[in-house]
């Protein structure tokens, strides 16, 4: 199966662990990932006011490119990219005025082929032809857990992992419509499919502090602490995330969390794709574990999972 894949800015630079583990895992499932030619940053934030529609141009340009390359599905792993792309696509389909204005703007977009220097312009309108899927959705709906189970090479022995959805995958519920916003099952089912035990805990869809991480670090430290503590109290040996920013707030911020909240002793944070890749038999060196501040190596050892220490 060949599928369009949008890594986004962060996966290409800072959080390559999410990108390489995704690529390795997909190889094991016989899925070829194709990046849309000349993709740009999605904008990270979907514009929330009716007058700031310029923010729709970048995601729609990416989606139009996927369509022009013959794709009808775009898969992404970063929750921010997923939300922006999916909401922009929905806005174009639901709002004729936005459709008209964004397409009018993008029609005269010029693309230059990096090799031949050939210029292309006069693009066809984008009408919502591409379906944006989060990799978790794609695995559930297009690959199927049955196929994943058939391909498993390692037994994760029911490792207790707390699924962390964060904000963007589930909400706003009207637009994302991935799962129930307050009692989701998507991530849990995925963890069970790869051989983990999904820990149920009340903070799985709470906010990690998001971008307040740079403007008000103390607030993000506290928000991330609440999530991690809740996961730990409910027996988790690790927290699984989908978003590079959740990862940053909960992993890179753990020193600050430990300094502020003395009861907290640490908990590894991993990407869901690292668990998937590991279960599918990918070598440890291809998981990007060097990017973790909180060592997660012990989770990925051939030794029985009962020996994992957190």
């Amino acid at each position: 199966m060949k599928i369009h894949y949008y890594p986004g800015c962060t996966l290409k630079q800072k959080t390559t662990a999410l990108d390489i583990s995704t690529r390795e895992a997909m190889k094991r499932l016989d899925i070829e990932l194709v990046e849309p030619e000349g993709w740009s940053c999605c904008g990270a934030e979907y514009p929330l006011t009716e007058e700031k529609i310029a923010g729709l141009a970048a995601p729609i340009r990416v989606l139009r490119q996927v369509r022009d390359e013959g794709g009808d599905v775009l898969v992404t792993t970063c929750s921010f990219c997923f939300a922006v792309l999916k909401r922009a696509d929905k806005a174009i389909k639901d709002d004729p005025l936005k459709h008209k204005r964004i397409n009018a703007y993008l029609r005269d977009d010029i693309q230059i082929n990096p090799l031949t220097k050939e210029r292309t312009t006069g693009f066809e309108d984008y009408n919502g032809e591409v379906k944006v899927l989060h990799l978790l959705e794609f695995l559930r709906d297009r690959v199927g857990y049955l196929k994943i189970r058939e391909r498993l090479k390692r037994d994760l022995k029911g490792l207790a992992v707390a699924p962390y959805y964060g904000c963007r995958v589930l909400r706003p519920q009207k637009e994302m419509a991935v799962d129930e916003p307050d009692s989701p099952r998507l991530f849990e089912e995925f963890l069970q499919a790869v051989g983990c035990a999904a820990v149920d805990y009340p903070f799985k869809q709470e906010c990690c502090g998001s971008y307040l991480s740079v403007s008000l670090p103390a607030a993000a430290t506290e928000a991330s602490y609440r999530v991690l503590r809740s996961a730990r109290m409910n027996g988790a040996k690790a927290v699984a995330v989908t978003c590079p920013l959740c990862f940053y707030n909960m992993d890179h911020r753990q020193d600050a969390i430990k300094e502020t909240f003395l009861d907290f002793t640490g908990l590894p944070v991993v990407f869901f794709t690292q668990l998937l890749a590991w279960a599918l038999g990918v070598e440890k060196s291809m998981l990007g574990l060097g990017e973790h501040r909180v060592p997660a190596d012990s989770l990925f050892s051939e030794a029985p999972a009962t020996e994992v220490r957190t």
Binding site: G43, E45, T49, E50, C167, R171, P172, S213, S215, P244
Partner: protein, 135 residues
């Protein structure tokens, strides 16, 4: 006894502008407080989300525009998913930020982040915060 509040011209203008920008009907709010109850940043705020929307209903622009709350909203949409009246509070917050003085100071601009931190954080957070909190 029934007391009827009537918005003046300036107040009406403010309310209409917020509704126009956000696309939300702020008068749908009946002050149940679920938005504030679920808000992860409520403890840092000077005005809670339900108080912001009440002040918008009354057209009290000044009180809303000087609130710290506008720059504590992380747009996590927890309030949106729980509002029994279907109001997207994050959109109301964004609409209020939108009408702040365009010549005013950035709430958080590129000068306020140290080069070391800018090197360390994921790119998405820089794009996101400048989109939200600077002009």
């Amino acid at each position: 006894m029934r007391v009827k509040l009537k918005a003046g011209r300036d107040q009406r203008k403010f309310i209409e502008r917020i509704e126009e920008l956000s696309g939300e009907n702020v008068f749908a709010c009946y002050q149940c407080g679920r938005c504030s109850a679920g808000c992860p940043m409520a403890s840092e705020m000077d005005l809670l989300p339900n108080q912001i929307i009440r002040l918008v209903q009354m057209g009290l622009a000044e009180d809303v525009l000087r609130s710290k709350t506008l720059f504590l909203c992380a747009s996590c949409f927890t309030c949106e998913s729980r509002c029994p009246k279907g109001i997207d509070m994050a959109r109301v917050m964004e609409a209020v930020r939108h009408i702040l003085d365009p010549k005013g100071k950035d709430a958080f601009g590129p000068g306020e982040i140290s080069p070391e931190l800018a090197q360390e954080v994921p790119q998405q957070v820089l794009v996101a915060i400048f989109r939200k909190f600077s002009k």
